[in-house]
Every structure is written in structure tokens, then in C-alpha cells.
């Protein structure tokens, strides 16, 4: 492992550019990553060591050693070594293949090529050979190889754009900004190669959004922050090249630091099994002690007088010592209660279930040709016990595609498909969309099924024109022409992209912008608007506006924003339109669309100049600057004229709503953990029905300090209980008392649905030790929890919190690298495959292409796996108790001498051959209800969550059942053999016949039992059950045959026994009696249970059977209807501060100057003061608005 190499804890990192020798002193990790565990030489010793660390394996090794001691050996050595070797080999092979694939993926990543400056030349180098201090060249759309300090880029001002989806899941582009001193280096290789700056910075850590450091170069120091750093895992976008200096490499990168340690995941059944195995060992020791004491007494009382016939062995001449040896002998004999085949069988069953997941066509996504994959094969039954799901948003719940769906202009809805059902179908079939081909710049993929808007545009409806003009003007989008001459938009939020693209498709094409102008093409004619002011977005304003002067000289303010905010700013004359639009907005929101209201205002020149002067003054003012500016903004954004509203669809993944609804019915709680903005997250919460209007309350926690957060949490809780109290009984107990009661019986006292929304800042505080409990309590009372703006590590912390304190089984699902730590820390991690990045999938336990498959994975595969595993365990413990305890009873009749009841071969083969396959077949193929019914009736999932099918109580029932069977198995033959004589007079009660009778009865009894337990008899079950019995008899006869005796007389002393014994009618009568006597109580018990207390699964089986008899009908679940009347706010994935970039012109290309006409030039010159103004305004807005989330 890489961490072992590190000797000292790094406090500070000092890196010198282009100086490998200097950097080598510090022994920084290089860029090679290791996730593999072994190499060829270390495999055998390490693997064996690991395997024998497992208690079970060590135990069997210990047994093996015991068996080699002749005084103790009550079983021959092969009874233990055969299964042990089998198990060890199988595990080793599996580990080896797993590690092989890890090697392969490591190699693939380590061998990626990157361009590095070595010896003053740009050379290709493998990723793993990149060293700290190297200068690396990146090209557009390349993955970043290590954490880099950005030096220079192809864009002006040393800007570059990166996509951080792999890191934090956000798909909007982020800007990184090189120091101006370094950006001058440009692409000049020789100068770059001579660059010898020294960076002193923090030690490697996992904070994605923080970086502190200083660059010393040419005798001056420059401070470095996160804006100058490009992290491994990012992708360079919209930037043709950039150069960076490696600061952190390989395991030190923030990506790898965030990925967390790989933990060996165990299922709760595993843990329960381990506890039970320990109990069984305890039980075994007790039995051993009883028998050992019995032996001592017996040797003393009886054996002593029997010396003539029963000698003392060498060296054991006291009854106490004999008892001691007997103890160990019995430990060996009774070890079959927990045979090693238990562990093997469990693994085999899980493997089978994993294959069924891989093979399921209903989880195959043909769109991306990706089948579901069970990447970890040891967790399947836990899929049937999930209580909490933690889901990422972008890419998991949503497709991250925004589409302009509808709009309402001047009281008329466009984009609506008429209610005629017939037509609706027709349209979806024919895709008779509006023909945009007239527009040369129209995007091909855009589709809006409404011709009326097109007609209105052609007719020249001024309102419609104004609406589209607004969309083309009021935004922060940047434009660019690619090589093919096509217009490309750089958007920082997909919502805006959708709006601008929509305007473009309807003929209002945003062409280009300068800091002072915006050029658009209006139905074929180029028009340049002068940008007078830019009133940027922030979370409080929830709107953005631009003030522009059109070529005709009119000044207009265009505004778009959250309807709730904007409607208050309207001119009173809008009343009629307002109510109409309001209805439309409700309608849109009801369909889960994200809405924005659109308005404008005509300003007269004088008023604007006055306002502008005031703004300047405000900017210059020293105190209360922010308030004054926002007041001015408020002032000018008033008396607006409503134009209409837009509706954008943040496309959910297919079937998300159905899946969420169905999983909630299955009593699974779903939490959204997203890096996105609060508004976006809430919006999606509503869109996929996790948040609804029916909820009693939605608590929003957004405090900035620990105290605030705690206060808010407490308040929310009080509020919740307060409401609840008034709901339920209304009588108020004293506060303290109530509080105490709450801790214990919280869940029952809550009626009604609540939701909790918490953002990253608050979460950081809430996860601190003392607030943690409050958070958890509140969160667990809520039906839905949404955490927004969370870092990957916080995601993992939330998961850990629930995992640790709720003792519940958790599942995390996500698609990006930012979900990796969460996926790893949850009990079960699910990755969405078929996306660009692979990290999530590589870290996951299960992967599939669509969120909706989660329903089938849990409700069908998970439920079945759990059901099967529980049935298997019940049967297995029963079987082995029945098999083994017979020795205990026999002990009382053979002088506690550890004589086995059965033939040694029978003991060896019983678990591996005679009874393994039927129970495996049940464990792999059994079904109680069909998959369709499991999906239709999510309540069936509940037994898994409550751990009902296999728990300690069930275990005791199984053990009791096993003990009863062993009693019957021993005492009926015992009674019958007491005075038995065969029908030929010869066959008397000898030990070997007794052994054969008991073994045969046992095999038949456990086969009948498995037949009773199997509820789904496929051909395979038939073959295995009948086959096992047949195999038993064939092997029995083979081993008792003359031939094999002649070859190995010492190993097969039972020669002729099968034939002699099984020829006797009375032996068969004994077997029949034993079978019936051991099965009758089980049948009675089950029959009564099924009739008196039928479980839901029993009822559905009844129903299924009845259905089958009647006729197969295909039932359809009623479609879940969404009825949200919620209106979205300005729910952009929008960041403030972009206005600044635009107005400062920093992000604009010099080489791509705007089309300049004479008019514009004059405007440009004359309005230079406006530029300054804009700069100031945005500055102020920027500083004023913290990222403060507001309760909606």
C-alpha cells in the first residue's frame, strides 16, 4: 500500500518547477496509483495469511491439527481437510482474479499519455511517470492528470474552463484563472521550461474547494488560491490548451484523497451469522464439557471395572485426563454443526444471485447497451433490507438535460399539446414538430410541438417578439464560433442555455457580446444593443435584469426571475394578465417544470440618468453601500410590464417518479445528497415526488455557525412536535418530560409528512459531534431529506452518520466521482453506468444504467436474495443440528467415548455431496411470489427491513427443530435396535447396521424437509433433490461393495452392510417411522401458521395460485399522478458573479472582436463611463450577497 512509504507527516509542501532533483528530496508520491493488493510473489503468503485470519478458516485449521493427535482423533483427517482445501483454493482463485482486474485498471490509468516539458522539450509521458514540479500541457477535453497550478492558457487573461463533474458532480463549467505573471508565459516552451518558481503550499488534503499557497518567482511572491488550481479528475473544456505545474500527484491528489479507503463490506446477515457461529461454538463447548464430565464419571464408575476388555491407552491413566481428551474429541465430532460448507454455500448462492442480476433483461438499458452488473458478489441479500437510500441528483435522478418546454406569452400558452388523446398519440408517433429548417442557425435537436408560436412570430406579434428578444438579451451566456462556423454557446447554467437556445430557434439569435454591447439577430437582421447596466442574479433577489438601449435609442429594462418575486414588482395595470399567467405557472409547475417569469420596463432617458447617478453615489458611499445599491435595484425593477413565463424541464431520468413512489411504499427513506444549489435540489425533490404539497412542513436549515444550526434544528424539531401535539391529542406535558419521552418513542408519535432541507455549510456544523444527534433525530423523523451543496466527503459523513446511529442498512446511488466516497461508505453502493466517468461504477457494488432499475434491484432481486438466504440459513442450521446432535445422544450409550454414530465417509460427504445441492438449488432458485407481484406490492419488502426472516429467534426455532429431529433420529432406531433380530435371524443390532439405518433416515428426513421448504420446484430442484437421494444410495452401495473393500480394506470396513441392512423390512419400517415422526410437527406448525397468521407473502401466494387457476391476467399498476402546484423560484443552477466577468470583458476573446459598425463604435466610446459603473455595481452585488439560502 502506498501510505506505508510515507515516513513523516507532511506539514507543508515545497515544490520547485522544472527541478526534479530538488523535489526528490521531499520524496513526494509520484503520479502512479495503486489499488491492487498483491503481486505475483506476495500473493500466496499474503492471501493465505488473510484467509487464515478469518475465524472460520483458522478454526478449521485448528480442528485439523487436533485430528492429527491419535489420542483425540475421533474423526479421520480427511473429513476436515477436503473441504478446507476446497474452500481455501476457491477463495484464493477469486481473490487472484479480482486483483488481476484491479491491476488492469490501474495500468490503464497509469499508462494514459500526457505531454510534459522535459529537457526543455514537450514530450509524451505516461501518467505514472509525471512527477511533482513537472509542467504539463493539457488539451481541450482531456482529463487532468494531477493537481496542477494553472500557469497559462489559450484563453485571454489566462482563463480556462473546467468541468468538475467527476469531482463534485456539477456539470456546469467553472473558470480557473492563472496568475497574470505566469499567464504571460503563454505557450512558449522555452520560457516555460525556464520557469523556476517555488510553490509553498498546504499538505495534501481532501478539501476540494480550498487551496492555500504562495508562489515565489522572480523575487516576488504571489498568493495562490483555489481559483488557480486544476484538480485531477477534471476535464478541460472550451480551452484549446493550457499549461500547469504539478503540485500534488497520484495518491496525494484531492481526487484520490477524497476517494476514501476501500472497506471490506459485510452484510448484516454475515454479522449475524458470525455471532451465531460464536454462540454455536459456545454451545459446542458446553456439550463438550457435559460429555467430558460424563466420560470422567463413566471411566471412573464403569470403565474402571471394564479394564479387562477396555484397556487404558498409553499415558492416559486417569479418568480426569480421559475426560479432558474426550472433550477435544467431541469438539472434533460436533464441529459439523458449523461445517465449513456453510461459508462456501453462502458464497455460491450469492454468486448465483449476482448472475441473475447480470442476466436480467429488465435491467438492461438498450439505449446505452449496458446490462446491470453485480460487481460485488457478496452483498446480495442486503439488497433486501435497505432502509435508507442516499441518492445523488444530477445524472442519477435527472438527466441533466434542460429543455424549453412551454411558455406563456401575454396570457396565451404555447407549446401545449391539446388534450385530445388521439392527437397526442399521433404526435408522439410522428414527431410532427415545428419545422425550424428555415432558420439556418437552429439547433437540430430542438423540438417543440406547437406551430402557433411560429405563426405568431411570423404575424409579428410585438409581445411575442419582445418576449423572445428578452430571452436573447437577458442572460450570462457567452457565444463562440467553432471551426465549422457554427455558433456555440458557453453556458454556466443549463437553464439559461435552454432559454437562449429556444430564442435562437425562434429566430432571435444571440450572436455575440462585448462588455458594452450585445448583438442579436432578429429574424434575419443584426441588431446591436448597448448594455447599460447589468443587475446580476443573487439568491435573495432571485432575478436578473439588464438595461439596454436599442438602436432606436429606447432604454429598456429586461428582467427574468422567480415569479413570486417578479409579480410583486409589476405595474398595477398588469392585473388581468397576472392572474392568467399565474394560472399558467401553476399549470406548468404541476407538470414539474421549472418556471421563470419574464417582464420588461421602458425607461425614459432622464429617469435612467438620475438613477444611474444615484447608483454611482451609492457605489462611492462608504457605509451601507450594499443596502443602498440593492435599494436602487429594487427601485428600478419596479412597475414592470409582464410579458409571460417560461417553463423548462429539468429532465428526470425515466421512471424516477414511479420508482421513488414505489420505494417509499416499501418503507424506504430516500435522501438526496447533491452538490447542486438548494433551489435546484428542492425543485427536483418536488419534481420526483419526494417533496409534495401535502407535506406538513419543509424545514430548511441554512445557518452559518454551529450555534445557529443547532438552534434551527431544535426549532424545527419543536415545531414538528408542536404541530404534532396539536394534531394528536392536544394536551401538553411539561417540556422536559416530553423531551425525554421523545427520545424513546419518537417514531410512533409523529403523524404527517415532514421534509428537511439542509445545505453544505450547515451540514458541516451539523455533523459536529454534539449537533449530530439533533440532526439525525430530526432527519429520521422526516420523510424526505435533501442535502445540497455538499462535498463528496460530507456525503460520506451523512451516510456514516445514519449507518452508525440508526443501525439501518443504507444504499448510496450516484454516477460521478463525487459520489465515490458515499458509495464506498454505504452498506451498498450503486453506480449509474453508461456515463462518461467510470469512478462511481468502479467504486460501486452494483451498477446499472438507469435509476429506475433500482426498483427491480431492491424489490425483486434484493427481496428474493434475502428470502432465499434466510431460508437457506434456517435449513442449513437445522440440518446440521439434526445431523450432529445424534452424536451427543449416542455419547450416553457408548461410554462418552466420542464414538461417531455414522461412518466416517458419511460424515465427510454428508454436507458436501448428499445434502448440498438441494439446499443450494433452493437458495438460488426459490421464489415465493413472482417478480411482477414483488414489484406491484412493495409492502412485501418490509420483512427484510425488520429482519424477520432470519434473526436470533428464528435461529433458535431452527435449532430446536434440529434438536427435535436428532432426538427422533436417534431414539426411534435406538428403541427398535434394542432387541432387534433380522428376518433371517442373523441380522442383529450391530453398530454398522445402526449407522447405516441412521444415516439413511437422516438423508431421507432432511430431503423431505428440503422438499417441504422448497416453494418453487423447477426442473433443477427436482433433479437435485431426487438426485441427492439417488446419489446417497449409489455411493452407499459403492462404498459397501466388495470391490472397494478389496482395494482399501482399512478405509471401507462397512463392506456388505448396505446390502444386508437395506434388505431388512424392519429397517425400512424404522426409516419410514423416523421420517414421518420428524416431519409431522413441522407440517402441523406451518399449516397452522399459514392459516391462522398468514403473512403478506402467504396471502399473495394464495392469490397467485388462485389467479393461475382462473386465467393469467396482466395487471397494471395505476400510474402515479403528480399533483404539485408548487411554483419554482429562480431555480437556476446559477452562480452570481458572472455579470462581473461579462461586464469586465475578461472572458471575451480579443481575437474575436464583435462586429463593429460605425454606430457601435461611437456608442462604445461614449459609454465608457457606463463600463465603470457596471463594474462597480457588480462588485457591490458580489460582495453583498453571500451564498445565503432562503427558506422558500
Amino acid at each position: 500500500m502506498f501510505c506505508s512509504k510515507k515516513k513523516l507527516l507532511e506539514v507543508e509542501r515545497i515544490v520547485k518547477a522544472n527541478d526534479r532533483e530538488y523535489n526528490e528530496k521531499f520524496q513526494y508520491a509520484d503520479n502512479r496509483i495503486h489499488t491492487s493488493k498483491y503481486n505475483i510473489l506476495t500473493f500466496l503468503p499474503i492471501n493465505l495469511f488473510e484467509q487464515f485470519q478469518r475465524v472460520a478458516n483458522a478454526y478449521f485449521l485448528f480442528l485439523l491439527i487436533l485430528q492429527l493427535i491419535p489420542e483425540i482423533s475421533s474423526l479421520t483427517w480427511f473429513t476436515t481437510i477436503v473441504p478446507l482445501v476446497l474452500v481455501i483454493t476457491m477463495t484464493a482463485v477469486k481473490d487472484a482474479t479480482d486483483d488481476y482486474f484491479r491491476h488492469k485498471s490501474d495500468n490503464q490509468v497509469n499508462n494514459r499519455q500526457s505531454e510534459v516539458i522535459i529537457d526543455s522539450k514537450l514530450q509524451n509521458e505516461k501518467w505514472m511517470n509525471v512527477k511533482v514540479g513537472d509542467i504539463v500541457k493539457l488539451e481541450n477535453n482531456q482529463f487532468v492528470a494531477a493537481d496542477l497550478l494553472l500557469l497559462s492558457s489559450s484563453e485571454p487573461h489566462g482563463l480556462c474552463y473546467i468541468e468538475t463533474a467527476e469531482l463534485d458532480g456539477e456539470t456546469n463549467l467553472k473558470v480557473r484563472h492563472a496568475l497574470s505573471v505566469t499567464s504571460e508565459l503563454g505557450a512558449d516552451i522555452s520560457r516555460l521550461a525556464r520557469f523556476d518558481g517555488i510553490v509553498v503550499c498546504e499538505a495534501p488534503n481532501n478539501k476540494l474547494d480550498k487551496f492555500m499557497g504562495v508562489l515565489s518567482w522572480k523575487d516576488s511572491k504571489h498568493s495562490l488560491d483555489n481559483q488557480k488550481i486544476i484538480l485531477r479528475g477534471c476535464i478541460l473544456r472550451n480551452t484549446s490548451w493550457c499549461f500547469g505545474m504539478v503540485i500534488f500527484a497520484g495518491p496525494d491528489t484531492k481526487l484520490m484523497q477524497n476517494s476514501g479507503k476501500t472497506k471490506f463490506k459485510r452484510t448484516s446477515i454475515d454479522r449475524l451469522m458470525n455471532t451465531l457461529v460464536l454462540w454455536i461454538f459456545g454451545f459446542l463447548v458446553c456439550l463438550g464439557i457435559i460429555l467430558a464430565i460424563g466420560n470422567s464419571i463413566w471411566e471412573n464408575q464403569v470403565g474402571g471395572q471394564f479394564r479387562t476388555f477396555l484397556f487404558w491407552s498409553e499415558g492416559e491413566k486417569s479418568s480426569v485426563f480421559s475426560g479432558f481428551l474426550t472433550f477435544w474429541s467431541y469438539i472434533i465430532i460436533l464441529n459439523t454443526v458449523v461445517p465449513i460448507s456453510l461459508y462456501v454455500s453462502v458464497e455460491v448462492i450469492r454468486l448465483g444471485h449476482s448472475y441473475f442480476i447480470n442476466w436480467d433483461r429488465k435491467m438492461y438499458y438498450s439505449g446505452k447497451a449496458t446490462p446491470a452488473e453485480a460487481r460485488t458478489t457478496t452483498l446480495n441479500e442486503e439488497l433486501g433490507q435497505i432502509e435508507y437510500i442516499f441518492s445523488d441528483k444530477t445524472g442519477t435522478l435527472t438527466q441533466n438535460i434542460m429543455t424549453f418546454k412551454k411558455c406563456s406569452i401575454n396570457g396565451k400558452i404555447y407549446g401545449e399539446v391539446h388534450d385530445d388523446v388521439e392527437r397526442k398519440k399521433e404526435i408522439t408517433k410522428k414527431k410532427e414538430s415545428v419545422d425550424f429548417s428555415v432558420r439556418s442557425q437552429a439547433k437540430g435537436t430542438f423540438q417543440l410541438f406547437d406551430h402557433s408560436l411560429m405563426e405568431s412570430i411570423k404575424l409579428g406579434d410585438p409581445q411575442v417578439h419582445e418576449f423572445l428578444r428578452l430571452l436573447a438579451l437577458c442572460h450570462t451566456v457567452m457565444s463562440e464560433e467553432n471551426n465549422a462556423g457554427q455558433l456555440i454557446y458557453q453556458v454556466q447554467s443549463p437553464d439559461e442555455g435552454a432559454l437562449v437556445t429556444a430564442a435562437r430557434n425562434f429566430g432571435f439569435i444571440f450572436k455575440s457580446r462585448t462588455p458594452e454591447t450585445i448583438t442579436i439577430e432578429e429574424l434575419g437582421t443584426l441588431v446591436t444593443y448597448q448594455l447599460l447596466a447589468f443587475l446580476d442574479f443573487n439568491n435573495i433577489r432571485k432575478r436578473m435584469s439588464v438595461i439596454v438601449r436599442n438602436p432606436a435609442g429606447q432604454i429598456k429594462l429586461y428582467s427574468k426571475g422567480a415569479d413570486t418575486i417578479l409579480f410583486e414588482k409589476l405595474h398595477p395595470s398588469n392585473e388581468g394578465l397576472l392572474s392568467l399567467t399565474s394560472d399558467h405557472l401553476s399549470e406548468f409547475a404541476g407538470e414539474g417544470l421549472r418556471t421563470l417569469a419574464i417582464a420588461y420596463r421602458e425607461l425614459d432617458d432622464k429617469y435612467f440618468q438620475e438613477w444611474h447617478k444615484m447608483l454611482e453615489d451609492a457605489n462611492a458611499a462608504m457605509d451601507k453601500r450594499d443596502e443602498r445599491i440593492s435599494g436602487l435595484y429594487e427601485e428600478i425593477e419596479s412597475d414592470l410590464m409582464l410579458l409571460g413565463a417560461t417553463a423548462i424541464e429539468d429532465k428526470l431520468q425515466e421512471g424516477v417518479i414511479e420508482t421513488v413512489t414505489s420505494l417509499s411504499l416499501a418503507n424506504i427513506k430516500i435522501w438526496i445528497l447533491t452538490g447542486d444549489k438548494q433551489e435546484t435540489a428542492i425543485n427536483i425533490g418536488y419534481a420526483c415526488n419526494m417533496l409534495t404539497d401535502d407535506m406538513n412542513d419543509v424545514f430548511v436549515i441554512s445557518g452559518n455557525t454551529a450555534v445557529e444550526v443547532r438552534e434551527e434544528l431544535r426549532k424545527a424539531k419543536e415545531n414538528l412536535f408542536g404541530q404534532n401535539r396539536s394534531f394528536s391529542n392536544g394536551h401538553v406535558v411539561s417540556e422536559n418530560k416530553q423531551q425525554l419521552e421523545l427520545d424513546s418513542v419518537v417514531e410512533e408519535t409523529i403523524t404527517g409528512d415532514y421534509a428537511l432541507v439542509i445545505n453544505g455549510h450547515s451540514l458541516a456544523h451539523a455533523l459536529e459531534s454534539d449537533v449530530k444527534k439533533d440532526l439525525l433525530e430530526l432527519a429520521c423523523l422526516c420523510k424526505t431529506v435533501v442535502c445540497c451543496r455538499v462535498t463528496p466527503l460530507q456525503k460520506a459523513q451523512v451516510v456514516e452518520l445514519v449507518k452508525k446511529h440508526r443501525n439501518a442498512v443504507t444504499l448510496a446511488i450516484g454516477d460521478g466521482a463525487n459520489d465515490v466516497s458515499m458509495i464506498k461508505s454505504a452498506h451498498i453502493g450503486v453506480g449509474i453506468s453508461g456515463q462518461e466517468g467510470l469512478q462511481a461504477v468502479l467504486a460501486s457494488d452494483y451498477s446499472f444504467a438507469q435509476f429506475r432499475y433500482l426498483q427491480r434491484l431492491l424489490l425483486v432481486h434484493g427481496r428474493w436474495s434475502y428470502f432465499r438466504m434466510c431460508k437457506f440459513l434456517c435449513y442449513f442450521f437445522y440440518k446440521n443440528f439434526a445431523f450432529t446432535l445424534v452424536h451427543f445422544w449416542f455419547g450416553f450409550f457408548c461410554g462418552f467415548s466420542a464414538q461417531t454414530v455414522y461412518d466416517q465417509w458419511f460424515i465427510t460427504l454428508f454436507n458436501i455431496v448428499y445434502t448440498s445441492l438441494p439446499v443450494l438449488a433452493m437458495g438460488i432458485f426459490d421464489q415465493d411470489v413472482s417478480d411482477q407481484n414483488s414489484m406491484d406490492c412493495p409492502q412485501l419488502y418490509e420483512p427484510g427491513q425488520l429482519n424477520l426472516l432470519f434473526n436470533k429467534r428464528k435461529f433458535f426455532i431452527c435449532v430446536a427443530h434440529g434438536i427435535y429431529t436428532s432426538l427422533v433420529l436417534f431414539f426411534i432406531p435406538f428403541g427398535a435396535f434394542y432387541n432387534m433380530v433380522g428376518e433371517d435371524g442373523q441380522h442383529v443390532a450391530d453398530y454398522q447396521s445402526f449407522a447405516v439405518t441412521m444415516a439413511t433416515s437422516l438423508v431421507i428426513v432432511v430431503s423431505v424437509q428440503i422438499a417441504l421448504d422448497t416453494s418453487y420446484w423447477t426442473v433443477i430442484n427436482h433433479v437435485f433433490i431426487w438426485g441427492s437421494i439417488a446419489t446417497y444410495f449409489s455411493i452407499l452401495f459403492a462404498m459397501h461393495s466388495n470391490g472397494i473393500y478389496e482395494v482399501f480394506p482399512n478405509q471401507f470396513p462397512f463392506v456388505g452392510n448396505a446390502w444386508h441392512s437395506l434388505n431388512q423390512k424392519c429397517i425400512w419400517l424404522i426409516i419410514l417411522l423416523t421420517t414421518v415422526a420428524s416431519v409431522i410437527p413441522v407440517v402441523t406448525f406451518r399449516f397452522l401458521k399459514m392459516h391462522l397468521y398468514p403473512s403478506l407473502s402467504d396471502q399473495i401466494r394464495w392469490w397467485q395460485k388462485a389467479q393461475k387457476k382462473a386465467k393469467p391476467t396482466s395487471r397494471r399498476r395505476p400510474q402515479t399522478r403528480r399533483s404539485s402546484s408548487r411554483r419554482s423560484g429562480y431555480s437556476f443552477a446559477h452562480q452570481e458573479g458572472y455579470g462581473e466577468l461579462i461586464t469586465s470583458g475578461k472572458n471575451m476573446r480579443v481575437k474575436n472582436p464583435p462586429p463593429t459598425s460605425g454606430l457601435e463604435k461611437t456608442l462604445y466610446n461614449s459609454t465608457s463611463w457606463i463600463e465603470n459603473l457596471c463594474k462597480k455595481t457588480t462588485d457591490t452585488v458580489n460582495s453583498f450577497s453571500q451564498d445565503k439560502a432562503v427558506k422558500l
Binding site: P70, T370, G985, V988, C1066, V1076, R1101
Partner: protein, 310 residues
């Protein structure tokens, strides 16, 4: 459809999609109750049959079997059971001269290998039983009942499992480098003075003894009394006289010796347990059937026909 898409899509087979046709049995009243009644109706007569037959094994007709019984004798003790060498008993020469370690401490005596070695052989029952019929109350002459010493061991034991060391010489010659077990009075090749072929390891008394008993109280077949061709019973009513040559000590371990004379029926010897057990289980089954019938009748409306709302 492209090739790649096809290969990645899982096959639509019943097996892979878990749609294999299956029989889904269900414990319904229709199957459980009749089963219980049938078990009851079959088991009770069987039990009665066994019981009656077993109790009728009295008249000494047909072949009569003579058993000796020992009690409190732990032939099933682990140390005892494993103290034998099957290779030696199978006539293996090397095992004859070098018996298995399992035979300790009855492996060698006075530097000679013991044949047959081990504790089982060493403790062989060696009393002699003779049965006489007192012909007449007044006449004191005793009539010796002819006891057959052969045909008492299993065929496989006699022909497969136990063999004398190979060779054409006399048995004594073949066993020449061995010594007899410590407790024995005579060597293994002189076990049956009357029948030359019933000596060595294939002596049937020896074979019977070597087939160890399952329980501490057991009986073993000693002799056969064959039915004569005439119509008389094999052992006519009368007074009998049993002559025991007492060699075998049982007092030390509180043991008992018994001699049993018995005939056999279709299901073997006298064995009342099985009959009673059958009657008991049959009755329980029948009773359960009745109880379940009542319960089922009472609760039928609530469960069987209940509508299931999903």
C-alpha cells in the same frame, strides 16, 4: 441491431430470467388433512400388525436361533471399536506379521504379532453353550440338541471381509509367526475343533463377535437349530437342560449373560417397540388431522377466501 448490442443484452432464456416453469406446492387444507388421515390409517394397522406378529413369536417352530446376550458390555466404545486391523483379518500377510497400531496394546505379545490383534478379538466371547432335551420326566437321559455352528455369519463377512492368510499349507503353518490374543486359551486356527474349515479368521463365532454391537446391551447369534423334516416342532415342549462352560468373566463389570432361543417372523425377531411406536405415531397423526380439520373449518372464512387487496 448491431453485433455489440446483441452480445451485451442478456439472453432471453427462462433460466436466466428466472422464469423456469415450476411447481409451486402450497400447504393447503386439501393436501395436508388427507395426508394426516392417510398416515394415521396406514400406520395404525402396520403397528398392530407388527405388535401382534412380534407377540406371537413364541411357538418354537421353523428354524430356531440361539443367541447369547451380554449387557453392560461397551462394544461400542471408541477405543474398543477401532482396536482391530481389517487388513490383517482380510488375510494380508504384511498386516498379519505387522498389525496396525490401532491394535495397541494388543498388538504384539512376547515379540510376536498377535493374530487377530486388537481389543475386540481379545475379548471374544468364549463360553460354550450346550442344549439338552430332557427326553422324559422319568428318564433322566439327556438328548443333545444338534447346534449348527455354520451359517451364523453374514455372507459378505465370511467371504469377503474375513479371510485367512493365503497359502496352501496348513492353517497352523500360515499363522506360524504369530501368537494368539492374550485372553485366548487357544490359537485362532484351533477355534473350532470339529470343523477344519471353520477355523482361522473365518471362524463364524469369531466373525459374529467382530461385528461389534451398537448398544451396550446386545445379543449375538450363537447357533442355529435347524428344523427337521418331520412334522414335529423344532424344539418340542419339554424340559431342557443348558450346559454352560463358563470361561467368560462378566461379574467384574456388572455384566449379565443371557441365552435366548427365538424364531423369526416376516419382520424379524420379537420387537414390541416398533409396533407400539407405529401405533402411537399413527394415532397422533390421525388426531392432528382431526384437530386441524376443526381449526380449518373454523377459520376458513377468515383466511382462505379472504380477498387480498394489494
Amino acid at each position: 441491431p448491431g453485433g455489440t448490442t446483441k452480445t451485451r443484452r442478456p439472453d432471453n432464456t427462462a433460466f436466466k430470467q428466472q422464469r423456469l416453469p415450476a411447481w409451486q406446492p402450497f400447504l393447503t387444507a386439501g393436501t395436508v388433512l388427507p395426508t394426516f388421515f392417510i398416515i394415521g390409517l396406514i400406520f395404525i394397522p402396520i403397528g398392530i400388525g407388527i405388535f401382534v406378529t412380534s407377540n406371537n413369536i413364541r411357538e418354537i417352530e421353523g428354524n430356531v436361533f440361539m443367541y447369547y446376550g451380554l449387557s453392560n458390555f461397551y462394544q461400542n466404545h471408541r477405543r474398543y471399536v477401532k482396536s482391530r486391523d481389517d487388513s490383517q483379518l482380510n488375510g494380508d500377510r504384511s498386516a498379519l506379521l505387522n498389525p496396525s497400531k490401532e491394535c495397541e496394546p494388543y498388538r504384539r505379545n512376547e515379540d510376536k504379532p498377535i493374530a487377530p490383534c486388537g481389543a475386540i478379538a481379545n475379548s471374544m466371547f468364549n463360553d460354550t453353550l450346550e442344549l439338552f432335551l430332557v427326553a422324559n420326566e422319568s428318564d433322566p437321559t439327556l438328548m443333545l440338541i444338534p447346534l449348527k455352528r455354520r451359517g451364523i455369519a453374514w455372507w459378505t463377512d465370511k467371504n469377503v471381509k474375513f479371510r485367512n492368510p493365503p497359502g496352501t499349507e496348513s492353517l497352523k503353518e500360515r499363522f506360524k509367526d504369530t501368537t494368539h490374543p492374550v485372553n485366548w486359551l487357544k490359537p485362532v486356527y484351533e477355534l473350532d475343533p470339529e470343523d477344519e474349515d471353520n477355523n482361522g479368521f473365518i471362524n463364524e463365532d469369531f466373525i459374529v463377535w467382530m461385528r461389534t454391537a451398537a448398544l451396550p446391551t446386545f445379543r449375538k447369534l450363537y447357533r442355529l437349530i435347524e428344523r427337521k423334516n418331520d412334522l414335529h416342532p423344532t424344539l418340542p415342549a419339554g424340559r431342557y437342560y443348558l450346559n454352560i462352560t463358563y470361561n467368560y468373566p462378566v461379574h467384574s463389570f456388572d455384566g449379565r449373560k443371557r441365552m435366548i432361543l427365538s424364531t423369526v417372523s416376516w419382520m424379524g425377531g420379537k420387537n414390541p417397540f416398533l409396533g407400539i411406536a407405529y401405533i402411537t405415531i399413527g394415532s397422533i397423526s390421525f388426531l392432528l388431522g382431526v384437530v386441524l380439520l376443526v381449526i380449518n373449518h373454523k377459520y376458513r372464512n377468515s383466511s382462505n377466501t379472504a380477498d387480498i387487496t394489494i
